[in-house]
């Protein structure tokens, strides 16, 4: 069997993180799930290169990543449609491409969306922690952010043949309307319906912990006192006293002390991961 290849990281643009399906089940010791922010795009990439579910990929914010292979590496990019340059040749995002020894793959700036996933056949082989190779940015757990000069080993987490050459690239519509279910503490805001009636804008201070939403703030019912800390979840919409909602992302705190007034349905949390700061969104009741 041939030596397994490596990826040499030549340059990065936005943050590049190793992510997989996450590490659920450890809330009791203060460890959250983390994992790919857009699970559907991450999973699609693994399927395209014939990986086992849960193999680790690179989550790339707004392109800019360039890697060089030391041997043959099969790869594909899903999620935000970053234009690809493979050994100097343009390839459409969503295509399964072969990188030969010494060849480079570069992700350009996607026209829409925020996070692209670079899946490689065999997965990214970095040490796992509590069963996962995900970087949890809030807890400072898991593999360190990927930086220029890093050498990433390609693993052996193959699970079948590659049967599809390419999928149509994703594109993301403006002002998506996401489905939301009333949260356990909806009665802590004066008018829960305002959540779905208003247009929100993604704040510049948004990250994998949460999307902070700008807009006409929600009126919090006065004198409710403090809510004792309770469990949090990806997609939960927490409203702090300033009335500016926070939609939790994959690296949310395990427990939180502000009322959750709505929860984005699981299937729509992937779209949250593709919203750029400044973009607008709405909600509707599921």
């Amino acid at each position: 069997m041939a030596e397994l290849a490596e990826l040499l990281v030549r340059s990065t643009g936005g943050p590049v993180l190793v992510q997989d399906a996450g590490r659920p089940g450890h809330a009791a010791i203060g460890v959250g799930s983390s994992g790919a922010a857009d699970l559907a795009s991450y999973g699609l990439g693994n399927r395209l290169v014939g990986n086992a579910p849960g193999a680790a990929a690179l989550e790339v914010v707004l392109g800019g990543l360039e890697v060089e292979a030391t041997g043959t590496v099969w790869a594909c990019v899903t999620g935000a449609p970053a234009p690809l340059l493979v050994a100097g040749r343009r390839e459409p995002p969503g295509a399964v491409v072969a990188l030969r020894a010494g060849q480079r793959l570069r992700l350009g700036m996607p026209a829409t969306g925020l996070r692209s996933y670079l899946a490689v056949r065999g997965g990214i082989d970095v040490p796992a922690l509590l069963g996962s190779r995900s970087r949890d940015t809030l807890a400072d757990l898991g593999p360190a952010p990927v930086a220029a000069g890093d050498v990433l080993r390609v693993g052996r987490e193959r699970d079948g043949e590659m049967v599809v050459d390419a999928v149509p690239p994703q594109s993301y519509d403006a002002r998506p309307v996401l489905r939301v279910v009333r949260g356990p503490r909806a009665d802590w805001v004066a008018d829960p319906a305002a959540l779905v009636a208003r247009t929100w804008r993604v704040g510049a201070d948004s990250d994998r912990v949460g999307l902070r939403l700008d807009g006409d703030p929600l009126a919090v019912v006065p004198d409710r006192g403090q809510l004792p800390s309770e469990g949090a979840l990806r997609g939960a919409i927490q409203v702090p006293p300033d009335g500016r909602p926070v939609v939790f992302g994959p690296d949310h705190p395990v427990t939180g002390g502000y009322p959750v007034v709505g929860v984005v349905v699981a299937a729509d949390t992937d779209r949250l991961a593709q919203l750029r700061p400044g973009e607008e969104l709405g909600f509707r009741w599921a």
Partner: protein, 212 residues
Amino acid sequence: MRLLPYGDRALLVELADTAAAVSAAGALRADPALADLLADVVPGARTVLLVARPGVALDRLRAILPGQKHLIGAGNGAFDPGLPQREVTIPVVYDGPDLADVARLTGLGEDEVVAAHTGNAWQVGFGGFAPGFAYLVGGDPRLHVPRRDQPRTTVPAGSVGLAGEFSGIYPRASPGGWQLIGRTALVLWDVDRDPPALLTAGTTVRFEAADG
């Protein structure tokens, strides 16, 4: 017990008090009927968040939960984590910067604060602040104190604090608003250890005064 909606993947079980939430979380985690249905059980101060595995309909949880006797019976004030008991003794040097404030707030002498903190066994209630941080519950009720008005920008690892009804130990240096009464040299979180957390669900914690 009350079941509250929490999106399409989770249910929030609300209980009478922290003791009930801790025992319910332990029992739910250990329940073989639920093991295949749940991705995580997240205890809180008054609640337990039950997160369904992908593909598991919440109606299946709703159908099972009301029949679980550990939920119906929960709330009798006793800590019964429903897990094998594990006990950890934590030596603490009681020289924290807020020890005098805690004495003033509680009306106890500093030595009485130490006696109260070491006198009762505590129990791991829930996590959440950082990996390895455990909200410890069940201690001496005289030690209930508010958080500091001004949180510290850096609290050293190993600091032992009080806030509300809880005690806790900072697993690593971080900002924090708890009243610091002492410090321990034990390592609360070590990724090269299995499990990495010293204080796991159901663990009983005893503090003992140590010399600095």
